[in-house]
Symmetry: C2
Subunit: 143 residues, 2 copies
Amino acid sequence: MLDPLSSLPGYVLSRAAAASLAELNRELSKIGLRHSDVSLLILVRANPRLTQSDAGKLLDIQRANMVPLVSRLLDLSLITKKPVDGRSQGLLLTDKGKKLLKEAQAIVDHHEVQLQLSIPERLRPHLLPILHALWDSSRSKSG
Amino acid sequence: MLDPLSSLPGYVLSRAAAASLAELNRELSKIGLRHSDVSLLILVRANPRLTQSDAGKLLDIQRANMVPLVSRLLDLSLITKKPVDGRSQGLLLTDKGKKLLKEAQAIVDHHEVQLQLSIPERLRPHLLPILHALWDSSRSKSG
DNA sequence: CCACATTGCTATTGCCAATAGCATTTCTTA
DNA sequence: TAAGAAATGCTATTGGCAATAGCAATGTGG
């Protein structure tokens, strides 16, 4: 059966990303989180009092779509909000959030290592540069 | 603002794929198609009388989710069904489908070329091998 | 002060994947 | 060949996530 799609980098890129994300989500579901939760938690840990809007900019998630994501983490008591001014609220990890993030981080780390190991050693140094090049170029067309 | 995510290959992979797909869909929307439509059309062109189930296997789309996809292309008169046996039906491109696919192919080709050009020439030969390595490993975990 | 931008939000829509279950048809094999 | 197993196409539903339009409250700069 002919598969003309597998010679198209764009197609393979999408398939690889989808499969990788699905695998990560499978692992993360064991601790009740999704990849989007973890990316936000990691961001808030690195940037305490980060604004919901600014987080959205870094994650390329629109303000409107940040609402249910943040709400979920609030409901789970993984983060809190502290008013920065009258309209903005800085996000902070709770102790529970910090603790759960450590577990999530272990899962993510393992996932990332597996990703690295999955490609031939010879090609490994080129992985991140190539991905960043792809990312940057696509980004410049939309943002 | 710290962005600890951009050093994670898995994260960058997802972001790159999402951005690339969004860009492709933007272009394809001009001719009323989506990337999933085009991938199926390309597959049917390469494998006339391909079964809906087999197409799903190649595209990694479950049988249930193939239904609305195929229905849409039928409604648009881009494909037809010809019974293969009592339960299976082979998919075929209509003349209209062939014509529209040519336009889609031009868009896809341009997209793929841009993708290639977006990364430094030195890294270009490594693109497809790396993506395939990522795809294969993720695939082996789920399929 | 006033026009403008920003923040967080509601509400809706669309795309796509996942699951469970069903009727029909085909294949297997005992 | 009859019976059980598998395959095919489908319905119906759910969940995750992105995109859009619009709103009230708040902040900012001329």
